[in-house]
Symmetry: C2
Subunit: 464 residues, 2 copies
């Protein structure tokens, strides 16, 4: 297992050298310097390029050894043939971590060169990559990537084995207002692997959850052991690609990973307490719910809706996923009935009917959130002719605030433009909100899975 | 079975009376008059209310019998106690169809009143409802609903048993740029039912596909027979809610429907050739693909991507859904290789790597769309640092135009703001585009299902 200090240097370095810094906008060696410079990173930034005096107004060094200050992280973006020399220079300088951006190693079949580079680096220098787009870490405002310059800070550490997909999602998490605490493009995993990162992020105070896009694993045992420990502190969600025979083949020509028998992965994920998502949508839906909510303390879920159909769809999905809409107690039914002038259904789903306004939503949410026999709430809203969805959104936000986040609550808004506005505002306020009832139920499923896991731990059980 | 003329009056009436028209904005009887007036409907519009001279500057009548012109459609929005009289008046006037907006019938347990109203109406007057929000039909620009005034015209007829959900989706289809050819809030189905509407829409030239949100059926045999005939002309997608025991219970208190054994529905849908979607997202994803594409002529699908990870995820999903990414022929591989300077993979998925620009996308799409050994294309794009997604979107649109829509093509764009812009433009241009690779594959699955169905018909098979 990696020592504590091993990978810290990648996230909170005192000084960063960019080996292969470039003066030409658009070049990778330029974009990385620009992102580090603009991201608000307060440590030293040292471009290295024998043919430049400055890069982006920063003094440029001929060689990393010419930097007088401490350099604990190097980002290497030179052609493949020059990587070996760059790594030697890093070792000489006493650098602790190198992110090798350069591609052209094991992913194109050149395993020899990759192994040589790693052996040169050991034991003092840890390597992320090669074949990566870099590392973003919100905690130190370090954007050592050639990806988007603007990344929204959030609560999830995202580890990706796919570069292009990772870059696209880096942009996407900002656009969707999810944000990330960190993004690591893990590349060929020649040295630092998922296990090292899971261990680091499990003790990183700025990270609440860990999301991994994985095609293959080199050291399964190490990963699953690290994950078993980590899930006691925070949830881990994995998108494991290459599950089908053809997908595994595609993964093999993509990152050179051996995807392995999918059934074995499924069993191992389950045993380690890792939540395996079916795809990107589900993974991010789960993560959003887990980040913004406490796990429920029991199994009793209530669905509140203004549209019967939405309530039926949500109930179907609950049953499919093994969630149990609670039987409402008589006194709760009476409490609800007392505040609802015209009333649809006091069964669960609670159907407030299409006349329900923000005030009624607020009152009913207060009622159910305060009940000790209700453990979580799925609040659904269908846009109707005369109720403003943005007011209903505000009512949900206020109810959550009054509840002081004691209980999990997820929402869905279905409708036109005003519903989208409501949806966006709730996302901004870090409320787990979805565009369909089914996805809101999926989100509650993730929270319930976390509840069951925590109960299992309390009872003295292992990871799963 | 209903005669041809039976339900036509609901969609292309010569004159519409609104019984219970109101001068008060916000009231249902006001909103319906406003929507009909503003929607561009060119037939006669006759508000009926004994206590008003005019409604929205339209002359108001004391009774429908006072209208001198022909009235073939009445929208009834009076209190439940007055519906009976209104229906008698409609029969006397010779109205052919009545949409009964009023609620308070079988859905609250009053089956007797509902049956009485229907028996009064028969045989000359057909009834939609009661307990409905009305009918929208783009073909005659008739918006006889109290829902949104602005509805985008599209290719799908949407029949909904849930009022609130239907209203929300009415707004949503406009916001998402899908549009609809018609929306029918079918309500309690006291008379006109899904079967009548499926039959009508199957011969409606402005409708390419039929989407149904269904909780229960009164006359299953009639519906499945009508559907078996209709699917020979256009695809039918159903969201059948109340599939779980609890969901069925919720459906029962919502619309009074008996949801029935779900396994029986599943089998019957399959036999009738109806595509059953898991939920709203899948249903609309399918419909969008079916509306904007021809069915493939064979089973050979190619995935084109600039991100390996996205390709792997798509391949996994293909295998899960029984789609077969084609083995590319050697000459196709050579053709692709010849035009791609730096190349990722000539296997399927074709990985153009992160450097792929719009020109390369255009060329490769041309190549695969022209091949007789390729039947459909899934085009994926990950936003990268230096390629503008909107240009890639344009390249996909242009390739489709050059192909003259001979082959189905679906796309996914994953990324930040510019990807969302690209995505919106493609939606506007009626290109089946999705925010994840998995959903694009789901869309191709729907097209392949349609292909298999059409092959089955060609071979002389029955509906399924």
């Amino acid at each position: 297992m990696s020592k504590k200090s091993d990978v810290d240097c990648f996230f909170s370095p005192k000084g960063v050298a960019i080996v292969g810094a470039s003066q030409t906008p658009g070049k990778i060696g330029h974009e990385i310097v620009r992102n580090i410079k603009l991201s608000g990173f307060t440590g030293g930034v040292f471009p290295v390029n024998p043919n430049a005096e400055t890069v982006l107004d920063l003094k440029c060094y001929r060689n990393i050894s010419d930097v007088q200050a401490e350099v604990d992280l190097a980002v290497i973006a030179v052609p493949a043939g020059l990587v070996e020399g760059a790594v030697r220079d890093c070792v000489k300088k006493g650098v602790k971590g190198a992110i090798i951006i350069t591609s052209g190693f094991s992913e194109v079949g050149d395993k020899g060169l990759e192994e040589k580079v790693v052996s040169l680096a050991r034991p003092g220098l840890r390597i992320i990559g090669p074949n990566t787009f870099g590392v973003f870490y919100a905690g130190s405002r370090l954007n050592a990537t050639f990806g988007p310059g603007k990344v929204l800070r959030g609560k999830t550490a995202f580890i990706t084995q796919s570069g292009a997909l990772g870059l696209a999602l880096m942009d996407w998490t900002t656009e969707e207002k999810y944000g990330v605490s960190a993004i690591v493009s893990i590349g060929n995993k020649a040295d630092v692997d998922d296990a090292d990162l899971v261990e680091f992020f499990s003790r990183d105070p700025s990270t609440s959850s860990i999301l991994i896009y994985m095609e293959g694993l080199r050291d399964g045992r190490k990963f699953f052991e690290a994950s078993r420990r980590a899930v006691r502190k925070k949830p881990i969600v994995v998108i494991k690609a290459g599950r089908s025979a053809r997908g595994a083949q595609a993964a093999s020509s993509h990152t050179g990973s051996i995807a392995g028998q999918d059934a074995i992965f499924t069993a191992a994920f389950e045993q380690a307490g890792i939540m395996r998502a079916e795809g990107m949508t589900q993974a991010f839906d789960w993560i959003q719910a887990l980040n913004e909510n406490p796990a429920p303390k029991g199994e009793n879920i209530v669905i509140v809706t203004n549209g019967g159909g939405l309530g039926v769809l949500a109930t179907d999905r609950c049953e499919l996923l093994g969630l149990k809409p609670a039987e409402l107690s008589n006194d709760l039914k009476q409490e609800i009935q007392a505040i609802t002038p015209s009333f649809g259904s006091v069964k669960n789903p609670v159907d407030l009917t299409a006349n329900a306004d923000d005030a009624l939503y607020g009152k009913v949410l207060d009622l159910v959130l305060r009940r000790s026999d209700i453990d979580g709430v799925i609040a659904l809203f269908c846009q109707t002719a005369n109720i403003d969805p943005t007011l209903v959104a505000q009512a949900m936000l206020d109810a959550r605030t009054r509840d002081a986040l004691e209980k999990p609550i997820v929402a869905a808004f279905v409708g036109g433009h005003l519903s989208q506005v409501a949806y966006s505002r709730m996302l901004e306020k870090k409320f787990a909100v979805y565009p369909t009832a089914e996805r809101a139920v999926d989100a509650m499923y993730a929270l319930m899975a976390r509840h069951r896991q925590l109960e299992h731990f309390k009872a003295g059980g292992g990871a799963a």
